[in-house]
Structure formats: structure tokens, C-alpha cells
Amino acid sequence: MTAILEARHLAKQVSTSEGQLVILKDINLSIEPAETVAIVGASGSGKSTLLGLMAGLDTASSGDMLLDGDNLSAMNEDERAIIRGQSVGFVFQSFQLLPSLTALENVMLPIELKNDSDARGKAARLLQRVGLESRLHHYPNQLSGGEQQRVAIARAFASEARILFADEPTGNLDTATGAKVIDLLFSLNAEFSTTLVLVTHDDRLAARCKRVIRLVAGDITEDSRHE
């Protein structure tokens, strides 16, 4: 099978007032379709940065990042945006819903951007799937953290993305709620057979992924698969 995500000698450094700061050095990895991958590591080890590069939210300082065969490093921001809209879904620690839109409208957005005429129906079905059918017209600040994250998950699947990125999706939730959200994420993932790449500090969450990549100071020190 060909890899859906492939990093080749990926590196990221930024210049700060204290000089060059190397965040990622020479990352090489390849992720198969429908794989579930957890990126773990200490705080500041570069997890979010790597996720951002893989998802095309940022550009690498050197090296190539291939998403479904397209080289993100060679694209400009608009081209990456189009790729994101077509192939990528996101779930973030701080939910990142548009506060002025209702739950339904938040989920509709990516579908509408694809010019799908049935945005409303599809979004409503997805929200029903995540158990929020009674909260369609509520605004994010009227929802609990867990509910907001479920809306975010519905939105992530709304674009029929082939890859799902999640950065500490349970970071802002209590254990029980977090667990429910994770269940939902994995069951939807299985249902749509998407690729899932998530960053987490939560060992139990990492354990549910088939593959764990550990970062230490911008280096991959462990890449293990298990069944």
C-alpha cells in the first residue's frame, strides 16, 4: 500500500531573539491509509509542530512532506488550503469552533465550502451521529467542553476527509468526558476508515492507536506498532 503521509528529512527551525531554535530535526516517517497513529512526548518536544507540518498548516524549513502524493512543501498557502479542505480534518484541544455560529452551522461550513447543496442535512446527520441532535441551534458557549468537542469531531468528519489530525483532543476535558469523546472519535474513524494522527499526553489514548511515535527534543526516538 502506498503511504498517505510521508515525511522525508523534515526539519523545522525558527529564529528567535536567542538565535536559531531547532524544533524538529530530520524527521522521516510514513503513514499508511486507515492507520491510527499517536504522537507522544514531553511538552515542548515538537509534537504540535510536527502535526502542523503534516497537516499543511505550516511549512518545513527543509525536507519534504507528502500528503496523498502531493508535496506540501512545494505548495503555496492557497494550494495547501485547498488540500486541507479536501483531504484533512482537524480536532483541537481548544475545540476551535466559530463562536458566533451555531453547532449546526459550524458543521455545515466545510460541507458548504465543497459546494455541497445538502450541507444542512449532512451536518444534521453528523450531529445526530455524535449525539447532539437536540443541540443543533445552540452556540458554542452554550455547550459544555465535551459537547463542543463532539461538534468539532462532527465538523472534522463533515468534509469527508481522508486524514484526521487531532492535537490533544481530550486536553481540556475531564477523564470521563474525554473517554467518551475518544470512543466517538475512534468509532467514527472506523466507520469512515480515515487515517487518524493524534498528539496526546494521555497514555490510555495512545494505547488505543495502532502505532505510537515518540518525540524527544524534535527527534523520533521510538516508532512502534502493536495490534
Binding site: L57, G85, S94, F95, L98, P99, S100, L109
Partner: protein, 881 residues
């Protein structure tokens, strides 16, 4: 991959609708957030104030022009001593202009019982083209508006006091020259009563039909007459006609409009126009600031939106499109609502002014709405578009790294654009480089002063009297922590307060000046041609009847022959202004029965220049006490004995002549030549309708040459009848009636004053909005900061006090800078634009900073009280979402 790219390009057309839908939904949903409301409110305010002021100004200006056109009975008047070619009237008519004509002359009227010198005016059917004739059915009876033009042939209308002098009544016959006329009505007022030369106004008015003139046989070769052709019509036609007249070879005639005819009215109108324009400039400026502030805050609120939209696949172009649609929708909304509100505001102003502006206002043109819309558009492009378009540069990485600093996005370009936009607006509006320059300089001055002050104050170490943990320390550290924001806030507050102060002070000064110009009880009749032997008798006559009078000024014509041995310079060389047409000069011409009418004495001798040396003829006087409304600006007024041989010169005229203190001037008075030394310079109020002189001699210098005397009277209503008695006892004197003119000017001034008042209030409202927007602009950060402070254990009181102090300090600073800025701009505005004297407004130096402190502190604390009263948890939760 490439097929994905092309697919999105093909989808672009389809997507446009989707984007518009998303944009409108965002706009609609955002309504719940305060930012959008404030932005829309600011834009509506901009359109409202600008279109409201423009509408009002537009209509008022036309009304005032119309009102003042009434003073001419026409829009343009052609006058001359001989009859202008009749083809000129036909030419004007062929250009779509209305025309009328009259001839005026002085003549005796007779009845069986008496006779009287009247100034007759024979008018054509169409007279008056502007304004109306007021008549009555009996002397001093209730006036009404004549439903026809002037009298029918064979009839005359006369002013009330003619009838008792002739022992006649309405319906009786009187004689003028060889013709007999029936007095059919009493003439109360004619619109152009005060226009023209003295010959037209030397006695009470008799109005007759132009056709009857030949029958009187009064007009003979050599008769002293004034011919006037009146024109009215639309501006463009009037102007092309004026150009055509210019091209005619024969040109002993003068075409004038009301501004040429009445300096006093022209000045009042000019100042009012400048003020209204300044008012709308400030309104635009303030609205621009409000839009900039609110748009910036709105866009900051949308940093996250842009980042999220990007992560789910929006391109930069699509994000721009979304926000462009939002702005366009806002613009449409603001223009529609603002225009309606602007119309309402101007109607409200008119209603409030109904008692002062009784005249029917002409309908406004469409231009004010265009101006309002264009202002919103320019403001939007200059102030709101840049920060919103900057959203497309937001990095999507923001969703992962909240700390990403995108503040750089909303700095330089928007400021530069905003500045350019403001400049364009100011210039476009005022079409006046001087006012624009003053305004821009004032703004720049405020910015520089602020820069210096903030360097001094904000950077200095902890101020005196601060304990750790005290409210003042918290406040100062807040000001310093947000230095950039604090400076911006002080800048906005100062500009706002400065605009308001400038306008308010200017308004007060203008109105005070006007009231001083023509106070209640301004004498409204000039008596001239009084001989020395009549003075005592007249004084007794007036005292007996309790009629207020002024000093009797001796008056004579003196010709300036040389200045320090050189011939005098032509004082009006550098402009085409023919010189001060004040009443004294005009009456002087009458006094000496000068054949030249309506032209200054200077012009007289210029005409003969070349053949003869230049002599500058002026009406002069001598007196030992400085006349009221005159002020010595250099040298000293004479006092004591042995003061002969001195002259005091009007300041501005002296500089035109190139005369300075200590110069030796030689005057020709009659056959004699007198040499005098300039010992003082005076400033004179030319617009006060009182005797004023360019040259005043010290007593003893000219006395032996003899003179006639000039004085003024105040006669109101039926008191005017006393004139008959006065003229009977002193038949040789000439009385010039300026009561109608003074009344007209007072009316115009009252209208203009109220207008100014209201504009000031309107601008005040925009100012309040800006202050509110500015306070709100920093609310988020305050919320967060204070929530943190409170979770750290700071008490509500402490935080509230700190907030109070912080705003008070910012307000104090802003008030101080605003006062400096206002005084500076007032100095230039008053001396350069409004032709006023500038005086420091001492009380403002206390009131300005004090008001700044109190208003900003009150506004600030009121707006941020929520900050303190919301639970810290709620704040922190809300802000992290």
C-alpha cells in the same frame, strides 16, 4: 494533483454564492457580539452626521443665499449712471434669465399742502425678482405682502412718513415733476431698500411705474440717476451671462451680487459656511476614527475565525471575499440607515430652528446623500478594509499555537491608508487648502505633543506617592504595560476632545463677535451734512425727544498727497477689492455730492491717474476721544494740550499704504495743504455699521478749515415719524436710513448662530461615540488582566480604583493635549480663516484637562465595571473559547 487545482478554479463561480451566504450568515450571527454593532454604529454615525450636516448646510446655504438675494431683489444687479444697452436685457432673457429694471433719482413731491424731497424709484413690472414688497393700506398700518409687483402706471406707493409731511392720505393725488399720481398704497418695505448709492436712499421712498417716468419730465440730460438692471435665474446661466457681459466693449457698468454689495452679510455668510464645513470635517474625522477603532477590534476578534476557516480549507482569496462581502453589506446598511437618519436629523434641526428660520427652505439636492455615502465608502476603504483584509494573512497555525502574535498585521498599512483616507476626505470636503492644512497641522501637532509627553510621563519611573499594591501603582503599571495602546488611546481621546473644544470655542467666539458687532440698540440712522451752527440746536432737539444719539463727528474730504515726501502707494494695488465700502465713506460721497456712486474714493482719482498725480481722497474727522470700537494697536492716542499736527491711521490701511508710525503725511484739504505726523495706529470694526474713519486727525489740525458733521440715531417703529419733524427743522441735513439693513443682518446672524449651535451638538455626539468605541477597544484585555489579578487575590475595590485612576490619568493627559491643540488650531483658524482676533481662552486650560479627566474616567469605569463584576472564572472561560 493538478486536477484538484483546476477543479477548484472551476468551482470558483459556483462558490461565490456559497461564500456570500457564509459571509452574510457570519454577519447576521455576529450581530450578537458587540464589535459588529459598534462598527455598524460608527458607520451609520458617519453617514448620519455627514449627510445630516450636508443636507442642512445645503439647504441653509441656498436659503441664506436666497435671503440675501432678496436684499438685492435679484441674484445679480447691473448698475450705472447712464442707461445700459437694452439689448443686454434681451440677451439675458435669451439665456433663460428673468429680468427687471428700475431707475432711481431724487426729486421733490408736492401736494396742495406741502412738499418733500423723496428718493423716487421707477420700476418695471417684473420688479422685484427676489424678495417681496410689503405694503399697508394706511400709514403705519399692518403690513402685508403685495400680490402684484410695483404700482400700476399712474399710481405711486410711498413710505408712511411722506404722507403726514404732505398732509395727504392714501387715495389722494400728489405731483411729481409734470405728472399727477394717485397714492394707492403705503410702502412698508422693499427688499433692496438699502442697496445702491446714497442718491437712491437720500429721502423716504416713492415707488412708481417705469412707464410714467417720461411724463414727469424730470429726467433731463445731466440729471443724476441710477439705472439698475436686475437678473435672476440659475447659477450656471448667471455665470455665463456675467462672462458675456465682461466681453462687451462698453463697460462703465458694474455687475454685482450680494457679496459685493454688502460686506457685512458676505462676512457673516462666509464665516457660517466655514464653520459648517469645519463642523462636518470634524464629524468626518471623528467618524473615521470611530470606524478605524471598531473595525480594528472587529478584525482582531476575527483572527481566530480566519485561522479556523483556513484549516477547514478556505483560501486567502475566499477569506478576503467573505470579509469583503461583510463590509459591503455593512456599507449598504450604513448608507441606507444613515441617510434616513441624516434626513431625520436635518429635519429635526430645521424644526428646532423653525422660529429662527421662518423662510421657506429650498429642497435639498441629492448631493448630500452622495457625500454621506462617499464618506462611508472612503472611511471604509481607508479605515476598515485594511485590518479586515489583513485577515487573509493570518496563519492557520494559530489554531495550534494560540500565542502566535498576529498584531503586526494591523499596524502600518492600515494607519498609512487611514491617514491618506482622512486627508482625501478633508481636502475633498473643504476644497480649501488653508483649512485642510490647519486641520492636518493640528492633528500632527497633537501627535507630536503626545509623543513628547508620553516619553516624559509614561516612561518615567514610579510616580510620587505610590505604594506597592496601591491602586495608583496598579493603574500606572497598567498604563505602562499597554504603552502602545495607552498612547493610541490618549491620541484618540485628545483628537476627539480637541475637535469638540475647537468647535465649541469657535462657536462661542463667533456668536460673541456677532453680538458685539450689532448689539441691541445699534443706531440705525445716519445724519449727515450737518453744519457747525446746527449742531447745538440738533442736540437740544434730540435731547428733548429722548432720542439716543452719538457724538457728532466733524467730517471732510482730505486728499493724501504724499508720504514722507513720496507720492502715496495705491492701497488696493494687490487685489481687486475696491476698498472698504463702509457707510462713512459712502455717506461722505453723498456729503460732497460726489458724482461717483457706489465706488470708493480711491477709485475716483485712479481713473484720472496718468494725467495727474495720485491723490487718495478719504473722508476724515478729528476728535479728542477715541471712538468706541476703535483700539490703539501701535503708538499712543493724543492727550493733553498742544496736540495739533497728528494723525491716527487705521492699521490695515496703513500697511496697504506703506505708512508707519512717525511718518510725515501731507493732506490736501480744500485749497490748503496740511502736514501731519502719524502717532498711532488703530484697529476698527468695519462691520459695526457705525461711523468709521481711516484717518482721524488731532483737534486743532483741521478745525479752521470748517466741516460738516455726522452723527447717528436710534429710531424704532413709530419713532421714525420724528424724522419728519427733524427734517422740517433742519431741512439741509441728509438722513441715511439703515434700520432695514441692520435688521436683515441681525436676522441672518441669528439664523447662522443657531445653525452653528446645532452643528456643534451633532459633532459632540459623534465625539461621544468615538470615546465609547475607544474605551471598548481595550475591554478584552482588561477583562483577562483583571480576572487574573482577581484570581491572584486583588479585591474588587482595588481593581475598580485602579481602573478609575488609569482612565483618569489618560483623560487628564488627553485633556491637556487637546487644550493645547485646540488653542493652536483656533489661533490659525480665527486669524487666517474667520478673520477674528485670537485671544487665549484661559478657563479652558483648567476646564479642558478637568473635563477630560472626569469624562474619560466616568466612561471608562462605566464600561469596565462589567470587568470587575463578572466572576473571574466566567471571564477566563469565555476568553479561552
Amino acid at each position: 494533483m493538478s486536477d484538484q487545482g483546476s477543479k477548484s478554479v472551476n468551482g470558483a463561480g459556483l462558490q461565490r454564492l456559497t461564500l456570500i451566504r457564509i459571509a452574510l450568515r457570519l454577519l447576521w450571527r455576529d450581530w450578537r457580539g458587540g464589535e459588529l454593532k459598534l462598527l455598524l454604529f460608527a458607520m451609520i454615525m458617519a453617514v448620519t452626521s455627514v449627510s445630516g450636516i450636508a443636507l442642512f448646510t445645503d439647504r441653509l446655504e441656498r436659503a441664506l443665499l436666497q435671503e440675501s438675494a432678496n436684499m438685492l431683489a435679484a441674484d445679480r444687479v447691473l448698475s450705472g449712471r447712464t442707461q445700459p444697452p437694452r439689448e443686454w436685457l434681451q440677451e439675458a432673457e435669451s439665456r433663460g434669465l428673468q429680468t427687471a429694471e428700475f431707475v432711481a433719482f431724487a426729486s421733490m413731491v408736492f401736494s396742495d399742502q406741502g412738499n418733500m424731497l423723496v428718493s423716487a424709484k421707477a420700476v418695471s413690472d417684473a420688479y422685484p425678482l427676489r424678495g417681496e414688497l410689503q405694503v399697508a393700506d394706511r400709514p403705519f398700518g399692518p403690513p402685508y405682502v403685495s400680490d402684484q409687483g410695483g404700482p400700476e402706471p399712474g399710481e405711486v406707493w410711498v413710505e408712511s412718513r411722506i404722507l403726514p409731511a404732505l398732509g395727504a392720505e392714501v387715495g389722494d393725488s400728489i405731483y411729481l415733476g409734470d405728472a399727477e399720481f394717485v397714492v394707492s398704497r403705503v410702502l412698508v418695505q422693499e427688499p433692496d431698500r438699502q442697496q445702491g448709492g446714497m442718491m437712491e436712499n437720500a429721502g423716504p421712498r416713492l415707488l412708481m411705474h417705469l412707464e410714467d417716468v417720461p411724463a414727469t419730465n424730470i429726467i433731463q440730460p445731466g440729471s443724476r440717476l441710477t439705472y439698475r438692471y436686475l437678473f435672476a435665474g440659475d447659477q450656471a446661466a448667471l455665470e455665463t451671462f456675467a462672462d458675456w457681459l465682461q466681453s462687451q466693449p462698453e463697460n462703465g457698468f458694474r455687475l454685482s451680487d450680494v457679496r459685493d454689495e454688502s460686506q457685512e452679510v458676505a462676512e457673516a455668510l462666509g464665516r457660517a459656511e466655514s464653520f459648517l464645513m469645519l463642523g462636518s470635517l470634524f464629524a468626518v474625522l471623528l467618524a473615521g476614527i470611530a470606524i478605524a477603532l471598531t473595525a480594528r477590534r472587529y478584525s482582531e476578534r476575527h483572527f481566530d475565525y480566519a485561522a479556523i476557516l483556513k484549516t477547514i480549507g478556505c483560501t486567502a482569496g475566499q477569506i478576503s471575499a467573505i470579509y469583503f462581502v461583510i463590509l459591503a453589506a455593512l456599507l449598504v446598511l450604513a448608507v441606507v440607515l444613515g441617510s434616513v437618519l441624516g434626513w431625520l436629523v436635518h429635519e429635526a434641526i430645521l424644526m428646532a430652528l423653525a422660529s429662527v428660520i421662518p423662510i421657506q427652505l429650498p429642497e435639498a439636492s441629492f448631493l448630500p446623500y452622495t457625500i454621506g455615502a462617499a464618506t462611508a465608502l472612503i472611511c471604509l476603504f481607508a479605515f476598515a478594509l485594511p485590518p479586515l483584509l489583513a485577515l487573509k494573512h493570518i496563519s492557520p497555525l494559530r489554531v495550534l499555537r494560540k500565542d502566535l502574535d498576529d498584531s503586526h498585521l494591523s499596524t502600518r498599512l492600515p494607519y498609512a491608508l487611514g491617514l491618506a483616507g482622512a486627508l482625501v476626505l478633508i481636502l475633498w470636503y473643504s476644497q480649501d487648502l488653508l483649512i485642510s492644512a490647519i486641520l492636518v497641522a493640528a492633528v500632527a501637532g497633537v501627535a507630536v505633543t503626545l509623543g513628547l509627553l508620553s516619553l516624559l510621563l509614561l516612561r518615567s519611573g514610579s510616580a510620587v506617592g505610590m505604594r506597592a499594591g496601591s491602586a495608583s501603582m496598579l493603574a500606572m503599571s497598567a498604563v505602562r504595560r499597554r504603552r502602545r495602546q495607552s498612547v493610541l488611546q490618549v491620541l484618540v481621546f485628545s483628537l476627539t476632545i480637541m475637535s469638540l473644544l475647537t468647535l465649541a470655542l469657535l462657536r462661542t467666539d463667533l456668536i460673541r463677535d456677532w453680538q458685539a458687532q450689532l448689539p441691541e440698540n445699534t443706531p440705525n440712522h445716519f445724519m449727515m451734512n450737518i453744519t457747525e451752527s446746527q449742531v447745538d440746536g440738533m442736540e437740544a432737539f434730540l435731547a428733548q425727544r429722548d432720542i439716543a444719539t452719538n457724538a457728532f463727528y466733524p467730517m471732510m474730504t482730505a486728499g493724501l498727497v504724499s508720504v514722507n515726501g513720496e507720492p502715496p502707494r495705491n492701497p488696493w494695488d494687490d487685489d481687486d477689492d475696491e476698498g472698504q465700502q463702509n457707510l462713512t465713506e459712502r455717506s461722505g460721497q453723498l456729503n460732497e455730492m460726489s458724482p461717483q456712486d457706489g465706488q470708493s474714493a480711491d477709485a475716483q482719482s485712479e481713473g484720472e491717474e496718468g494725467e495727474r498725480e495720485r491723490v487718495i481722497n478719504r473722508q476724515v474727522t478729528y476728535t479728542d476721544s477715541l471712538p468706541p470700537d476703535n483700539q490703539i494697536v501701535a503708538g499712543e492716542w493724543w492727550s493733553g494740550a498742544d496736540i495739533a499736527g497728528q494723525v491716527s491711521v487705521e492699521d490695515d490701511y496703513a500697511s496697504r499704504l506703506g505708512v508707519s508710525l512717525g511718518d510725515e503725511l501731507v493732506f490736501r484739504v480744500g485749497e490748503d495743504e496740511v502736514t501731519v505726523t502719524v502717532t498711532s495706529m488703530r484697529s476698527v470694526r468695519w462691520d459695526n455699521m457705525q461711523p468709521n474713519f481711516f484717518f482721524i486727525f488731532s483737534p486743532g489740525t483741521l478745525d479752521y478749515l470748517g466741516a460738516t458733521y455726522l452723527s447717528t440715531l436710534l429710531l424704532e417703529g413709530e419713532e421714525k415719524l420724528q424724522l419728519n419733524e427733524l427734517l422740517r427743522q433742519f431741512p439741509t441735513i441728509v438722513v441715511l436710513e439703515v434700520d432695514a439693513l441692520i435688521e436683515q443682518i441681525q436676522t441672518i446672524i441669528a439664523q447662522v448662530s443657531s445653525a452653528i449651535e446645532l452643528i456643534a451638538v451633532l459633532v459632540l455626539l459623534s465625539g461621544a461615540l468615538v470615546l465609547l468605541a475607544c474605551v471598548n477597544a481595550t475591554l478584552d484585555e482588561r477583562f483577562r488582566e483583571n480576572a487574573i489579578l482577581r484570581t491572584l487575590g486583588a479585591g474588587r475595590r482595588l481593581i475598580l480604583n485602579a481602573l478609575l485612576l488609569e482612565f483618569a490619568f489618560i483623560g487628564l493627559l488627553a485633556g491637556l493635549i487637546a487644550t493645547i491643540g485646540a488653542e493652536l488650531s483656533l489661533y490659525y483658524l480665527q486669524t487666517q480663516v474667520f478673520g477674528q482676533d485670537f485671544r487665549l481662552h484661559y478657563w479652558v486650560w483648567f476646564a479642558g484637562p478637568l473635563a477630560g479627566t472626569i469624562i474619560i474616567a466616568a466612561l471608562g469605569v462605566n464600561a469596565t465595571r462589567r470587568v470587575v463584576n463578572t466572576s473571574p472564572l466566567a471571564v477566563l472561560r469565555q476568553l479561552t473559547v
